[in-house]
């Protein structure tokens, strides 16, 4: 069962910190270990609320059914959750002190409750700039029909 349950995830990022790969260990281009998750209406609503969203398109099935989407969809920004939901406790992005410097995302089609989302991700590059350790991560999320939901990359700064 791949149904996403937010309460099942570890919230202490110090636990297992020693098992995560550091900047020095990352192999650019190597695929991150990921697992598919199935979105539910409850997860979409909780996520949307946490982002500051209040558009009924994300919460109200009757409202959403009357829109071109024909039902509730997730906000475009759902990749913010999927980056953590589809990766495990040992993924390097959970290392305490990993600072997000910025991201870019392209949105193909909306994700919806009931969709089973698969992540393909790599640390595409790592470099040192102005004495800071950078990683560029590169990601694609697809649904159960192998249709692309969104794709994007980000720049992170890592603890020395």
């Amino acid at each position: 069962m791949t149904e996403l349950r937010l309460e099942d995830f570890e919230t202490d990022f110090w636990k297992d910190a020693g098992d995560r790969r550091t900047w020095d260990d990352l192999v650019p281009g190597e695929e991150r270990e990921t697992h598919p998750v199935t979105l539910t209406k409850a997860v979409v609503a909780k996520f949307a609320r946490a982002m500051g969203e209040d558009n009924p398109l994300y919460f109200d099935e009757d409202y959403a059914r009357a829109t071109p989407f024909g039902g509730i969809i997730a906000p475009p920004s759902i990749h913010i959750l999927l980056m953590f939901a589809c990766t495990g406790i040992h993924d390097w992005m959970r290392s305490p002190g990993t600072i997000n410097a910025g991201q870019s995302w392209f949105y193909n089609i909306p994700a919806r409750p009931g969709d089973t989302i698969t992540m393909r991700g790599t640390a595409l590059d790592r470099f040192i700039k102005k004495e800071r350790l950078f990683v560029i991560h590169d990601n694609v999320f697809t649904n159960q029909d192998r249709a692309v939901i969104c794709s994007g990359r980000g720049w992170t700064i890592h603890p020395a």
Partner: protein, 152 residues
């Protein structure tokens, strides 16, 4: 009105005003619970007294992606009634945001583009705090399609 007509009505320089967002330890906690990002940067005051390479902070910081989400909300909610689809956002953080800050996103339409198969709007997007300090900056891109992606 069709998406084409809506697109034609929009002018370069049009402003898209976002709503203010009051940041607190509670909104940061809620963001973490909704996104599964529990990095101690956002919770551990003691830890934040350390230095992070070349970067130092005076308190826990808001998740950078809260900026991203608020930019997305601002353009998406403006676009949807017009038949526009939020296609892309690229953003970077310029200054940290702390509990107690009130941040407001704003966007401005930059030149429109028409390609073989699409009508595109670009936006310059900024988020400023209560002192007018710009904390995040980005560029968004929207399409005005004949059929909405994901239409059913």
């Amino acid at each position: 009105m069709s998406a084409t007509q809506e697109f034609d009505k929009i002018s370069v320089g049009d402003a898209v005003s976002g709503r203010p967002f009051a940041v607190s330890r509670e909104t940061i906690r809620e963001f973490a619970e909704g996104s599964l990002d529990f990095n101690p940067l956002h919770f551990d005051e003691e830890y934040m007294k350390s230095t992070f390479g070349k970067t130092a902070f005076r308190d826990v910081i808001m998740h950078g992606m809260q900026n991203f989400a608020l930019m997305t909300r601002t353009v998406t909610d403006w676009l949807l009634p017009k038949g526009g689809y939020h296609r892309r956002l690229e953003a970077r953080w310029l200054n940290p945001v702390y509990p107690g800050d009130v941040i407001t996103p704003n966007a401005r339409v930059s030149p429109k583009n028409v390609t073989d198969k699409g009508r595109w709007l670009l936006f310059d997007v900024e988020i400023a705090n209560q002192d007018g300090l710009v904390v995040a900056r980005g560029e968004a891109m929207a399409e005005f399609p004949d059929v909405m992606p994901g239409a059913r």
